[in-house]
Amino acid sequence: MSAERRSRVGLRVVALGYLAGLLLIPVGVVFYRTFEKGLGAFWASITTPAAVHALFLTLEVALISVPLNAVFGVAAAWALVRGRVPGKRLLDALIDLPFAISPVVVGLSLLLVYGRTGWLGPWLTEHGIQVIFSLPGIVLATIFVSMPFVAREVAPVLAEVGEEQEQAAATLGASAWQSFWRVTLPSIRWGIAYGVVLSTARAIGEFGAVSVVSGKISGETDTLTLLVEKRFQNFDLAGAYAASALLAMIALATLVGMTAVGSRRSES
């Protein structure tokens, strides 16, 4: 008995030790370094004009890309689970692609379509539309990398709730749209919420793809993550820590949101 208990405690110590050394202590050190000079220094560092602009740009990008991803995600999940059309296996495979592609390759791919020498480059220049090194490019990169989350969360929920209620609604005379809005959507809402939380976290935190297409123009196309890198490279370590702490707080809020939505989802 005591031998079994000892081995169990041993495993627990190794597991928690690994987590502490890899995750908790490093994040703790960043928070410590950020706040060791007081809250005032942190506040001053994240309210400089460049930081405020980066924060708003980051939020703007998330606000554009997440709703688009949510609509696409629900449509894709519907097609995968309820569809009686060919192409389901292909769609299923394609949805996971963005998860497996390097962010730098994502950025390069957009550059080669919308950049100066890209496929659509000459046409865009002619019509005075700038995609690369401006907001549309950052949004396209963000949509690319955060695309699969909602579809991947909603599809299993949709399969789980089954079709009976929708069929009942149809026999009672509901149109397809009515049945979707009044029956299907309420039953998958926590799945959508979970996907939206994940998608938002990824949208706010994307670095590699955005780094290629944004051009990193100070006060214009710098997002929060790009600001962290820029401050680090300019030897403003305290500033880099402050911006990191802000992003880490957003990440922790995401975890709280995931836990809250996750328990609601498993209850319903």
């Binding site: 190794v14 490093p26 390069l108 149809a170 993550t225 962290v228 922790l252 975890l255």
Partner: protein
């Protein structure tokens, strides 16, 4: 283009199968957002012909970056396969205070921006380390960064399988006199191995493409700590889109290979259920 409505099934009799609109929209969206750009990468990589493609891919620096990326991603996936299985085990079978909190924190690497992950590791294991460990600018730093960002994959793949696992088998083995180690190796591990492998494959795929967490801590020293994604980034910066695209195509092929492997594993894992 004349196909409109219906998402639902009521008009299924009217000739349009259900899901047509949803499928059409999804496919169009994926094509514009994902497939068109990827096609541009493949096309550009072949701009100078196959010889030119090969010259870029087989340059000494590219080969060195690709080889190092493969090795380090494989190492990170293997280490996290072991520790991930252990952590999943502790989270499912062990009981201690604060377990819920630990479980929630597992997803931190998914929620934390990669550049912050890199800076975070640098704060503890960099030149200003409070514990006196400095791995910055070494290959170990790259491994550390990949361990951080790929941590959740195996844990989250193994956890549900372990929860569902029937304890009867283990009790039967124990009553027949099997020791805990034997039970783990002969009874539990075979049940978990598809989940461990598919989690490790996802971790590997993620590791191969990783950029943000590596870029600060590795120093990007060519022939030493430079990974493939950073090599691609440098080629873009030095205005060599063909070279960047060529190495990107190699990375894309790797991703596809891993995705296919995971699908095969998925079929293997669910073969008992039918």
């Amino acid at each position: 283009m004349s196909v409109a409505l219906p998402i639902g099934r009521r008009r299924a009799g009217a000739g349009v199968p259900p899901g047509t609109l949803a499928m059409g929209t999804s496919m169009l969206w994926i094509s514009v957002i994902v497939l068109l750009p990827l096609a541009a990468v493949v096309a550009r990589s072949l701009d100078g012909g196959v010889d030119e493609f090969w010259r870029h891919v087989s340059s000494r620096q590219a080969v060195s970056a690709l080889r190092f990326t493969l090795v380090v991603a494989l190492a990170a996936a293997a280490i996290n396969a072991a520790f991930g299985t252990l952590i999943a085990w502790v989270l499912v079978r062990d009981r201690f205070r604060g377990k819920g909190l630990v479980n929630a924190l597992i997803d931190l690497p998914f929620a934390l921006p990669t550049i912050v992950a890199g800076l975070t590791l640098l704060a503890l294991y960099g030149p200003r380390s409070p514990v006196g460990i400095n791995v910055a600018l070494t290959q170990a730093a790259v491994l550390l960064a990949l361990l951080f960002v790929t941590l959740p994959f195996v844990i989250r793949a193994v956890q549900p399988v372990l929860l569902e696992l029937d304890r009867d088998m283990e009790e039967a083995a124990a009553s027949l006199g099997a020791r805990p180690r034997t039970i783990f190796v002969r009874v539990i591990l075979p049940n978990l191995s598809p989940a461990i492998l598919s989690g490790a494959a996802l971790a590997f795929a993620r590791g191969v493409g990783e950029f943000g967490s590596v870029v600060l801590i590795s120093g990007n020293i060519p022939f030493h700590t430079q990974v493939a994604s950073v090599f691609v980034f440098k080629q873009i910066e030095s205005d060599n889109p063909v070279g960047a695209a060529a190495v990107s195509v190699v990375l894309l092929l790797l991703s596809l290979l891993v995705l296919v492997a995971i699908r095969v594993l998925g079929g293997w894992g669910s073969r008992h259920e039918r």
